[in-house]
Symmetry: C2
Subunit: 446 residues, 2 copies
Amino acid sequence: MVDRTQQPRALGVAVIGMGNVGSQVVRMLQVHGDELRQRVGAPLELRGVAVRNPHHDRGIAPELVTTDTESLIARPDIDLVVEVMGGIDPARELIAKALTAGKSVVTANKALLADYTSELAQLADRHRADLCFEAAVAGAIPVVRPLIQSLSGDRINRLVGIVNGTTNYLLSAMAERSDRYEDLLAAAQELGYAEADPTADVEGHDAAAKAAILASLAFHTRVTATQVYRQGMTRISAEDFAAAAAEDCTIKMLAVCERVDAGPGEPAIADGGKERLAVRVYPALIPRKHPLAAVDSAFNAVVVEADNAGRLMFYGQGAGGAPTASAVMGDLVMAARNKVHGGRAPGESVYAELPVAPIGDILTRHHLRLTVSDRAGALAAVAGEFARRGVSIASVRQQLDGSHAQLVVLTHHARESVLDQIAKSLAALDSVTSVTSVLRLEGTEE
Amino acid sequence: MVDRTQQPRALGVAVIGMGNVGSQVVRMLQVHGDELRQRVGAPLELRGVAVRNPHHDRGIAPELVTTDTESLIARPDIDLVVEVMGGIDPARELIAKALTAGKSVVTANKALLADYTSELAQLADRHRADLCFEAAVAGAIPVVRPLIQSLSGDRINRLVGIVNGTTNYLLSAMAERSDRYEDLLAAAQELGYAEADPTADVEGHDAAAKAAILASLAFHTRVTATQVYRQGMTRISAEDFAAAAAEDCTIKMLAVCERVDAGPGEPAIADGGKERLAVRVYPALIPRKHPLAAVDSAFNAVVVEADNAGRLMFYGQGAGGAPTASAVMGDLVMAARNKVHGGRAPGESVYAELPVAPIGDILTRHHLRLTVSDRAGALAAVAGEFARRGVSIASVRQQLDGSHAQLVVLTHHARESVLDQIAKSLAALDSVTSVTSVLRLEGTEE
């Protein structure tokens, strides 16, 4: 008989969901078994794969495949659960059951995490299991772990990211080709860069979920997706890109998470600790020289600004089966290592509990395009609306467009609520035919 | 009496060395005590600072300051040691003593780690302490932790980095202003961007130490600084930049770590696992569209290419007191957290033990500038030398330079040993007045 007393016990892995990411995770477990064993300190064995349709041939031994996810997770020989099925239900309950049974969970489920990290992290704590989710934000790019660990001794002030591949692909294509949004979307759907129902991406829901996760980690505060101000990018046009180019800018779908001062009438930070957070997702102009301006197509990037580290950028592939699976596997190796050597991954840290400010209280810069009928009088009337509400204008451009003129106004920083009122007042002016577009400008020092 | 049973014990921190980094670490410990306590789960208390000159006023309570480093480390109320004194001795012995006493150590000492990680990591393992060194490579940029943890489930193939701020500052300045190296160095020294003795930076010793650390982590193999092929950047001239610009390239001091195939006559990877590593540091041309080309001045960046993650880039401030201290503090919080909650940071993983190939075996592309006396005959003679040794030329440019002509040859990939022989043969040709410069070209697919 072989003496196995010195052999560490193999760890059993269950993979829930066999889409793009799940099938890559299974492949990597099967191909790199020997390397993984040495990195973990024990063999990692794939012991079950939960799928919806068991008859689809996936090249996996049939005895590993099941549709009974609950029973798979409950099996005593499963130590680690990889959840890559997506969606809130039943993922939420399945993960809760796994954690309650002391099994560590690796998930890429941003929609779930954006709203239920708190509940799940508490379960993980209580049952001394790991809950890891590097893959939930920005695919292969290590950003969750750097925020939780590497920057844990610093103070993060702002985080600006391109965290959705579909919208970045669409906006990059629009910047290059100035096709219409509808045509680009159809092409992207054909190429597999956009879903048949693109709502979650183009309306910013996906980015908002990721912004909630990033803000929670960066500011040690529980932020949920519903607290994230969100605007889609479906109304961005080739004209918006032309107008952005005139300011030496491009347009990107941005997730912005930052600390902001207390609102007016509230005690300042120094007095009462009334610091707040602003978390928002929208298409915005950014200067071409900003590091995020060069992040094209399906790539993602996150810029982090911290007191001591200064400005950091993390860049890479934000989506796709293999890149996302790379992040899942990194988490799986670390969670497995903790099972072998003891210890736990650092979990949620939400002691700060900073309030999230309503969008109206945030200071942003606006870029407004107006169609005006009367050039001579329009500029004075428009400028008057800004002046009356104390908003400083950085630049005004006038362009002739047939019989009408276009007026492009770029403001300095001002409160969103005031800028919003101004846009409404402008639309009511006699000399203004229409307020064609209102976009923010991000990534400038002023 | 206050009931303190529920209060976790405070952890004692000793800081060894009070230079730029040490003084920032002390400041951050003092200013952010409350936040750090919540992130660690216990108070972090600065209990001693070891310095060389106790009479220098640093604004620290005098009773904390000592010159007796050994006694400070040995104190039972010290749980964590931050070593930011630099140098091999006595840092090596001090860290060994701390680890042997079960104290976790956070260090930014790349020179030490490049050669002694193995010895120190074993001590850390044996005494269940943490040895953390995020700050040793690329300052504030999280790259050590992503390599050890985030990419632990992937297979890294190549890593190319700008990891020395001084040389990147000098080369960026040369690219902009085309001043002479000596003048730029003097200016950099005045600004504090270069040391009085710049040897460690400009000759590539600092980058080689970092390359050794990065290669060890990326390839799960012990690589020491002496195994890193190294060339300095002191002979780079404005003419080199002009020649690089003609190829739409710039020049950067690069650390390149990659997997390479087995040498000729040796079994291929598939047969005998004879994969090798190439680890080198030198100034090289890179295409202007390569992400590293835009990394200017004192910034650092590391590009990692992995099987599944694809290409990732990490960018930020690579040096300076506060950015480096940010990385130290992240390690300190994590090591302290492990003291409170149990567990250990993932340590060295060197199971692969891949051999490091000698530079002569590596395939690179060369960019040669020759001064030739006889334009008509020279091109044929020069081309003949490349052809005879089977090296394919990608492009040749001829430029008149007074009575002489300059010939600029860019090769495809070829073995360094062969390219070296060609350069020697070219210098011996009658029609070649001199081989003015030989540089590599990195960052192209072919």
